[in-house]
Symmetry: C2
Subunit: 253 residues, 2 copies
């Protein structure tokens, strides 16, 4: 971690949220320019983490939460038996580590899937500041609430959807989020392994692999290793929610 002395001094640099392209997605959203400066004062940008490196590890005390500036992060928990549960794939503008607030230590680990840079946000200082800056408190609550909603959607996915629907939904989610950040929604690199995808979606690797080939055969995607091109977005959307063939005898409800 401290391999090269000469970069220590740039290991953390003052941030300027105001000049960050992600500020509408991230914590500063809804915070006034002058308050944003106060936020800048507590946030530090860490030096980039290379592929495979950790942002934090399960069990680490909660000292900070992290905002992703660029790159990809996967969060995962390890069961006692050692096998892993991937809990999310996160990209620029998203906050990781919020689930540590409850217990005071991180229940998950967060690992870079690509070279990734993050902003470190000391949690106690954030807590204090958000008392004084209502817009900040609101945004923090909003982000956490958003995560709850995302988890609920994922629960629905894992509980009720077929393998095909799950993968399609994941691809759509990623595509949409990339688009939101100014990247192509049609052509992108999936930096995580098939194993991670399967793990996240509750499927075997083999199933994920077969689905990719099937989607390709059906003309929904072109897949070349980690590079995915969406060829037919509508069909992909249909695949993600075609479960609706199920007769809905809305008698109940």
């Amino acid at each position: 971690m401290d391999d090269s002395r000469n970069v220590i001094d740039i290991a953390s640099v003052k941030v300027a949220c105001q000049s960050c392209g992600l500020r509408q997605l991230c914590l500063p959203a809804g915070v006034s320019p002058q308050d944003m400066e106060r936020l800048d004062d507590i946030i530090r940008r860490l030096r980039p983490i290379s592929r495979g490196g950790h942002v934090f590890r399960a069990g680490d005390p909660l000292s900070s939460i992290y905002a992703i500036r660029s790159g990809w992060v996967k969060t995962y928990a390890l069961a006692e038996d050692g096998n892993e549960q991937v809990t999310g794939f996160h990209l620029a503008g998203e906050l990781v580590g919020l689930d540590a607030i409850a217990s005071g230590e991180h229940p998950c680990s967060a690992k870079a899937l690509d070279t990734t840079s993050v902003c470190e946000i000391p949690f106690e200082r954030l807590e204090d500041l958000s008392c004084e800056v209502p817009g900040l408190q609101r945004q923090l609550l909003r982000i956490m609430s958003q995560e709850l909603t995302t988890d609920e959607e994922l629960l629905m996915l894992l509980g009720k959807r077929s393998a095909e629907e799950r993968l399609a939904a994941l691809l759509l989610s990623i595509s949409g989020r990339l688009k939101q950040r100014g990247y192509s929604a049609h052509e992108f690199r999936l930096p995580m392994s098939r194993n991670d995808i399967g793990n996240y979606l509750g499927l075997a690797v083999e199933t994920v692999s077969r689905l990719f080939t099937r989607f390709q055969q059906q003309g929904l995607l072109s897949v070349e290793n980690k590079l995915v091109t969406v060829e037919n977005l509508d069909a992909l959307k249909f695949a993600a929610g075609s479960c609706s063939n199920r007769d809905a005898p809305s008698a109940r409800a």
Copy 2:
């Protein structure tokens, strides 16, 4: 809603968090007595909601979140095709509606599974107050973070566990939460239908039903309709995680 004029005046009554047995579990935890009074000022206790009644419905604007005083609440979302996804079963001391903060309207509905009474907490006033009362802000964040953790555990359950493990885990969770609230951990009523259980766990009703009979045959439980008696707690724990020793002891509480 306004069916009987004569109860209107007791429809909402000032709360006294201080005298509430749930205050350590609920929002007031970590709030000083004098601040708790300020909390009391904004919270109102609604008149009991009977079985099948709604606390709020999906699409309702977020005006309040709700703390459950007694009873059982199920939260669920309706997909476009009309079929339901149960997202949680909640009991006394738990907050529902937090996932509405992100969008400003409730993404889920909340329905009473039994006669249930709740405290209504106007969200904007809570937001304001929690700026002034740091202990309150902290507890609110802690509760939301706790929900994130719970969802993550559930994700693991749905993604990687067998039907048997899922049901066992649910029963243990319920048993543990009831115990925490001073009820019997060994004998309790499950107020939700088998359908709801299956829906929540991502299983068919029939599977749930078969599992109950199997557990009974194996001597883990006695089941009589909605009444469940845990006969062999250790075996149930074993069934819940043949690999994971989830310890009930209050790591957090």
